[in-house]
């Protein structure tokens, strides 16, 4: 019941920005997508989340081809934290988090929604920002609110025993070290509760320390998939990232 890509290719202007990508991310595991800029990691993530339709191949979530899943059901199984927020209207932070409950309209009560939103805000340590205008928050604060929203979205398991998936695109980019570490810890915590975590991360040190599996991308291809320790060898890092010398992660 993994999040899978099977021979997925994405072609733009005749060029394959993702070529024949195949692999599975398991539930109860923290998978990281790594690689240099333009390697195809965000593209692969987009196919997994259902945002991008593959030109070739297929993607499946929890055993079902994503194209066949109704958008509401999909929204109750997986949440996405994008790299940037496009919000330009002055919602208060808790209103933004509350929008995460949108796919549950008609399937939940106000009481439950409020409690979940409350909890999600607490978990991401943005309680003191709840009534602040989202637009006035710093980049890092906004990111934490966005993550809280994603948590609120898939707080409950989709159906008995179903997997909750969280996809994140460069979540640590704007965060202070303190929050980077606490986010990684939080993701591990969720993973232990059975959530499937897939994140595009550029910081290999964080990846080695906190992630279980790694997909290494280069030039639109999946170079390697496997446990972080075995994939992120000094030689491989040198080759994929085009360094002058091999680099060993501490």
């Amino acid at each position: 019941m993994a999040a899978q890509l099977k021979n997925v290719s994405i072609i733009r202007s005749g060029r394959a920005i993702l070529e024949d990508a195949t692999g599975a991310c398991q539930p109860a595991r923290f998978t990281a997508f790594c690689g240099p800029n333009g390697a195809g990691k965000t593209t692969a993530l987009s196919v997994l989340t259902g945002a991008l339709r593959p030109d070739r191949g297929s993607a499946a979530l929890s055993g079902q081809d994503i194209r066949t899943v109704d958008r509401g059901r999909l929204a109750r199984q997986r949440a996405v934290v994008a790299q940037t927020s496009a919000l330009t209207f002055p919602f208060q932070s808790y209103e933004v988090v509350s929008m995460g409950r949108a796919p549950h309209l008609g399937r939940t009560t106000r009481q439950v929604d409020l409690e979940i939103v409350n909890e999600a805000i607490r978990k991401m340590d943005v309680t003191h920002l709840a009534e602040r205008n989202y637009l006035t928050l710093s980049g890092g604060e906004r990111k934490r609110v966005d993550i809280a929203r994603a948590l609120a979205q898939v707080w409950e398991a989709p159906e008995a025993g179903g997997t909750r998936w969280l996809f994140l695109d460069e979540p640590t980019a704007a965060l202070d070290l303190k929050y980077q570490i606490s986010l990684m810890r939080e993701l591990q915590d969720l993973k232990q509760k059975g959530w499937g975590i897939v994140a595009v991360l550029h910081d290999l040190h964080l990846v080695k320390k906190f992630a279980d599996h790694v997909w290494l991308f280069k030039n639109g291809k999946v170079e390697a998939i496997g446990e972080a320790k075995s994939v992120l060898t000094a030689e491989r890092i040198q080759s994929v990232f085009e360094l002058d010398a091999p680099y060993t992660l501490p």
């Binding site: 259902g50 997986r78 496009a86 209207f89 919602f91 929008m99 949108a102 309209l105 309680t127």
Partner: protein, 368 residues
Amino acid sequence: MEASPPALEAASSANLNTNRERIGVLVLAGAALLAMIGMAIGVLVGPLQITLSEFSAVALSWVGIGDAESVSRVKTGVIENIRAPRSVLGALVGASLGIAGAAMQGFFRNPLADPGLIGVSTGGALAAVAVIVLGGTLLSPILVFLGAFALPIIAFLGSLITVAIIYRVSVFDGRVIVATMLLAGVAANAVAASGIGYFTFLADDAQLRDLTFWTLGSLGGAIWDRVLPAALLMLISIAGLLTLARPLNCLLLGEADAETLGIDVEATKRKAAFLTALGVGAATAVCGVINFVGLVVPHVVRLITGPDHRFVLPGSALLGAALVLFSDLVARVSVAPAELPLGVVTAAIGAPFFFWLLIRDKRTSGLG
């Protein structure tokens, strides 16, 4: 364990309303009250002096209590056939313009948007102007066929066709590209403006006057026969747009995020555009061009309630109704027994107010 954020703290299990929601409800109640006062004024006040007891006699006769024989036929006629349809029309036109303005601001993710951006008003205006100028010649067989409803019907069709064209042009790969639609709207407005310019060029003195008055907007000449069909369309538009509150909220996060939240973004955009065309098209067809309501009213509501469409949409409808009704009062009474065009009054109120809003709220109005 930290305490809940104050906003949610206030929502005890008994009452489940956050602070903002409480404010939102108050605003809706206030706007509803204003709209009702506006309608009452629309029926009770006017250039013709009618006393409260005369009005009561007529009103009671509607529900079968007594007949209004003591009241003169003219006064009864004014209440029933001039003021009543006019109030109903004014309320619905204001509500349509207000809620459509709010919906368009959500659709374009821009607080400066208004229904005119998708070409509703100019399409209708171009059609109306063509009717006014060509009515005696080229279009006369059509006009004879449509009778007294010719102008509103053709204007309405003009609105719908313009929006449909702009919409089609902006579709790529099955999705509506909002940025393209904005530009298409600008282009369409330019084309329509030149078309209107051409017809203005052809018009003779009388037609020119008619044309000018139409582009200034007016609730005058509102008789039940014309009001009821337009009212139906506007009610459908308002009801439909109200259901888009949550989807529009999510749409403000960006289309990609809205999609991952399970919102059918394309359907939302389609409905927003179509319902706007329906309501504003009907309003413009019957009253001519009325500016500023769709732009200013949602702004005012948003200032107090925040951007949550669950309050902004109904609030804009109610406040829009109130604004039009009060503006119409000024239009009807200030130069009695003559009348000012409604669009002049709404612009006179709306424009300075809008400038004030912009200056006051540069930081938090969501423009930056």
